[in-house]
């Protein structure tokens, strides 16, 4: 049977368990390469669990189904996290995670549309996802398609002027079918985002740009569920922003405690340690 999956119908597995599965798969992919953006993946796992297993509508066997909610990964380097979610959602086969980042893999380090089922756009040149999302949201409205467009971006991308062009454009066109998720882990290549080019007060900025804006603890499942529900339910003719304050490396305390970096160092013997920490804390 073809299933128009409301993600909530997928199973009775808890969202906390889904997030755990995403974290575990991301760490396994990191181990393949001996490195990866695992800090970001661990931090954003809860956001992805709520997106793919609570909020979004899609068909696992047909990732390009016209009625699906679109999920844009503007932050291409977060692909390791999205692959984990796509595997968990049944869109990608689990065994493929062992090819992560290798030659000719469908799972390159940076997410690209031509490579991976379920990867809507080629991200990685930061600051482009939201603008593409504006066009897709306009297109969906023109087609009278009720799907939502979700754009996942990072706090670093707030520095790009293109982000604010897109923000202004989305509000001008009253794109109430566009939901922008900002993963605020306060970390970018050279250091803490707030010390590179400070975007605060961030919620006030998005509100001033004409967006329905919420700011939540991005590692608090109940808060995320409430925020995603509100973003879809409000009737304001405005685009919706959900600023998610997340903790890099969330769920693996010895990595959480490490001096934070864009590219968190994980020693060869630490991948299995990280998995052991996760395994000792598996939610039901």
């Amino acid at each position: 049977m073809t299933s128009q999956i409301q993600a909530t119908d997928l199973s009775n597995m808890s969202l906390a368990r889904r997030a755990w599965e995403i974290r575990r798969k991301a760490v396994r992919m990191g181990e393949v390469q001996g490195q990866g953006y695992v800090g970001q993946a661990l931090g954003v796992a809860d956001v992805l669990a709520v997106s793919y297993f609570h909020a979004m509508t899609y068909r696992r066997e047909d990732p390009e189904w016209e009625g699906r909610d679109r999920f844009l990964l503007s932050i291409g380097h977060y692909a390791i996290a999205l692959y984990a979610a796509l595997i968990e959602a049944g869109i990608l086969p689990e065994q493929e995670l062992e090819t992560y980042g290798t030659d000719d893999s469908r799972l390159p380090m940076s997410g690209m549309a031509a490579y991976t089922p379920g990867m809507e756009i080629t991200g990685g040149s930061l600051g482009q996802g939201l603008g593409i999302g504006v066009g897709m949201a306009l297109g969906l409205k023109a087609k009278k398609n009720p799907a939502f467009v979700y754009n996942l971006m990072s706090d670093g991308e707030l520095g790009e002027g293109s982000t604010w062009e897109a923000a202004m454009s989305a509000a001008h066109h009253k794109l109430d079918n566009l939901i922008c998720i900002i993963d605020f882990n306060d970390q970018q290549a050279d250091g803490k985002s707030t010390e590179m080019l400070c975007a605060e007060p961030l919620a006030a900025k998005w509100s001033a740009f004409g967006w329905h804006t919420q700011r939540v603890d991005g590692n608090d499942m109940a808060a995320l569920v409430a925020a995603f529900d509100a973003a879809r339910a409000v009737t304001d003719a405005k685009p919706r922003a959900i600023i998610c304050d997340t903790l890099m490396c969330k769920g693996v305390p010895f990595l959480e405690a490490r001096e934070m970096a864009h590219f968190v160092r994980v020693e060869a013997d630490e991948w299995q340690k990280a998995l052991a920490v996760l395994d000792a804390n598996r939610p039901e």
Partner: protein
């Protein structure tokens, strides 16, 4: 209708088999060794050269768009924190601000990745910097195919983009010596410069083959002579050409190498003189698409001046390149030393 217009049936939807246990895997995390074994490396030659130059010239300032650590500018930032501006992930305002600093009498060195300078900030560089002929030095890591990360970070067409810009001097250094010697030359040059950066541990190659070599803006240098073919190269392809020449000499082939680190203005006199000697194949070699880079610049110069040797080009194909391990990609796209040797042999 597929939403993915660059849909590739050979890649997409075809599940990949995981590598067998114990099988050697090549991943995009591999740091490519640009040089063959046996060359020494120099750590962060750009950062250290800039610090040395900044001690002599207090007008030098540094700017970056969230990539100090990845362009070796952190060395300068640590030495001169009060002369360093972290602009955040905002390349457009970084180049506009560099123009503003230059207008106030400073000598800005602004760093990012080559893709972001050439693609994102082009109009800002064109109008705020080049049109005004301001002495802003644009120094960009990851030129051409120097990362396996995929097209978002592979600046395979940066030279083509920038060659069309009046006033802009373009430098494509080969090794640590070139990078280090280019810094004072750029500072002394009264105008905007774009330099492709080799970062981190950079091999020192040319002096091993040619101890008297010195970098000069606008000069091509004959590093070795040869009677069967002349390779005109820039960037790390000069390393490849030197290694290829040594290897082919074992088979009795005599390959010359003309290193041409300044892409613009091109050293037409030297190129015409060397290519015009006749009796040998002329091959250009560049870490760049064959569209609009060194190869076409040389070809145009030769044809306009009526110098017409047998002429071939080595460079990247006109396509968005794969992600993967850099050694695999250099081989796949014909810019490894082995691939260079195969191509030249085929043409001789």
């Amino acid at each position: 209708m597929s939403t993915n217009r660059n849909y590739d049936p050979h890649r997409k939807w075809q599940p990949r088999t995981p590598p067998k246990s114990g099988e050697a895997v090549r991943t995009s995390a591999m740091i490519a060794s640009l040089a063959a074994e046996g060359y020494e490396t120099v750590s962060a030659p750009f950062g250290h050269a800039l610090v040395a130059e900044a001690k002599r010239n207090d007008k030098i300032v540094g700017l970056t768009a969230d990539l100090a650590k990845y362009t070796d500018l952190h060395i300068f930032a640590e030495a001169f924190p009060e002369r360093f501006y972290q602009m955040g992930m905002a390349e457009q305002v970084m180049f506009s601000a560099a123009a503003g600093l230059a207008r106030e009498g400073f000598l800005p060195f602004a760093t990012t990745y080559a893709v972001f300078a050439s693609r994102r900030a082009y109009d800002f560089i064109a109008m705020a910097i080049a049109e005004e002929n301001l002495p802003v030095k644009i120094v960009c890591a990851l030129p051409g195919l120097t990362t396996g990360y995929g097209p978002s970070h592979q600046a395979t067409e940066d030279l083509a983009i920038f060659r069309g810009l009046p006033n802009l001097t373009i430098i494509d250094p080969c090794d640590a010596i070139d990078v280090a010697e280019a810094v004072p030359a750029m500072a002394a040059h009264d105008g905007p410069v774009y330099m492709r950066l080799l970062r981190g541990k950079v091999p020192s190659v040319i002096h091993k083959h040619c101890p008297d070599y010195k970098f000069e803006i606008g000069k091509a240098k004959l590093l070795r002579d040869g009677t069967d073919a002349l390779v005109i190269s820039s960037g790390f392809m000069t390393m490849r050409a030197l290694d290829a020449a040594v290897e082919m000499e074992k088979d009795g082939l005599s390959i010359g190498v003309l290193h041409c680190p300044t892409i613009k203005p091109l050293d037409t006199a030297t190129i015409l003189s060397e290519a015009g000697k006749g009796g040998r194949l002329v091959v250009t070699a560049e870490n760049h698409t064959r569209v609009g880079g060194l190869g076409e610049a040389v070809a145009g110069t030769l044809l306009v001046n009526g110098v017409t040797p047998t002429f071939r080009m080595i460079g990247l194909p006109d396509q968005f390149l794969d992600a993967g391990a850099l050694p695999s990609l250099h081989e796949r796209y014909g810019i490894s030393t082995a691939a260079m040797i195969r191509q030249i042999r085929g043409w001789l």
